[in-house]
Symmetry: C2
Subunit: 192 residues, 2 copies
DNA sequence: CGAAAATTTGACATGACTCAACTGGAGTGG
DNA sequence: CCACTCCAGTTGAGTCATGTCAAATTTTCG
């Protein structure tokens, strides 16, 4: 929990009193590989922060194909923001890719916290701004680069993911099929 | 300006005093068709709200091709959030597609306002959450649907844009070439 | 009207997908 | 320790979606 406060402190300065209030609403929880933090159709009741581990957020299209929206690593917040904000059923699934420890704040607690500690409002504004900027960048990359380049960029940017998760998931994140990613990789290795 | 306060009121409730503070930092400005609100390389010094008109935010890749990140309509906030937040040079351009009236708040004023009127922090948190959810949805659609379906969805969702802006921009937004969009459209019209 | 910009059209090229067969571990159980 | 299955990854052939290029046509607007 203390590391969580340190993390908060990178964005906002809390008084002791405020820290206590924040701590009082945090819930710690652990998941095993394969377990779901939230599933499609659920209402996302928690904002979820990853203390350790690795998750993916994906969605299933009408043909049953998985599309990975994002991976979640240490220090990231994950979930379906749309569902959480409006407290309506989620379209996305969030699943652990390995043993994962999270910290959660429930919707009700967070609303209360926003009122009692307005700096928390600032904190989440900053976090979402960052996430938004990252997602814009991803859209840009997907539109302006062919699959091969997107894969290379991904390898640079997320080496922990590349070596920690099955390739078909990386393909899904990149928006291509697993077979095509395999072709790309074999071509890359031929080139040395 | 009053319509702006009404708009704010949809998200937060301000006292008269707070309203006055907010009003004191708003700057109104008008642009003609084709003018740039911000350009690549600039530091985005303002959060920009569209009172009326239509804009596009786009970026140029290494080959000089335009990629439209998003269109901006009435009531939208536009710009390069990454640049604004970190006050670093922007990668994106924001250009008016017709006569456009905006309301702007400078970076410095906004920082001050966040402190004086913490509800504004809440307001922007809510706005960005919405924008983030919208962008996630777009990523999902781009990955799971072929160009033709994306175009049909776009027509449903943004009819004002479809009839108000050149087609090559819509193609760019959809991530396809203008020629291919033209093919899609001619095929659609053949089908009735 | 005339010029520039936007759109259409068509031939051809290619990136990416589908499908099916194959390879190669990593269990699991006898 | 082998036989078996299961899952991820590979490979290749054929196909489809989309891109490229160049020319023709239409629209826009001064």
């Amino acid at each position: 929990m203390n590391t969580f406060l340190e993390y908060l402190n990178r964005y906002i300065q809390l008084t002791k009193e405020e820290e206590t209030k924040v701590l009082s609403v945090l819930q710690q929880r652990s998941y095993l590989k394969g377990q779901y933090i939230q599933q499609e159709g659920d209402i996302y009741r928690y904002q979820t922060y990853i203390e350790s581990g690795k998750v993916r957020t994906f969605y299933l299209d009408d043909n049953g194909n998985e599309h990975i929206i994002t991976f979640g690593l240490k220090h990231w917040w994950v979930g379906d923001i749309g569902s959480f904000t409006s407290q309506s059923p989620a379209h996305f699934n969030t699943q652990c890719l390995e043993k994962t420890k999270v910290i959660q704040i429930s919707y009700e607690d967070l609303e209360k916290l926003y009122n009692e500690v307005p700096k928390i409002e600032r904190f989440f504004r900053l976090i979402i701004q960052k996430a938004y900027a990252k997602m814009s960048k991803r859209i840009v990359q997907n539109y302006s680069l062919p699959a091969r380049e997107r894969y290379l960029l991904f390898c640079e940017e997320y080496p922990e993911v590349v070596q920690g998760v099955p390739q078909y998931m990386i393909a899904s994140y990149l928006g291509i099929t697993k077979e095509f990613l395999s072709h790309i990789r074999s071509q890359l290795s031929k080139e040395g």
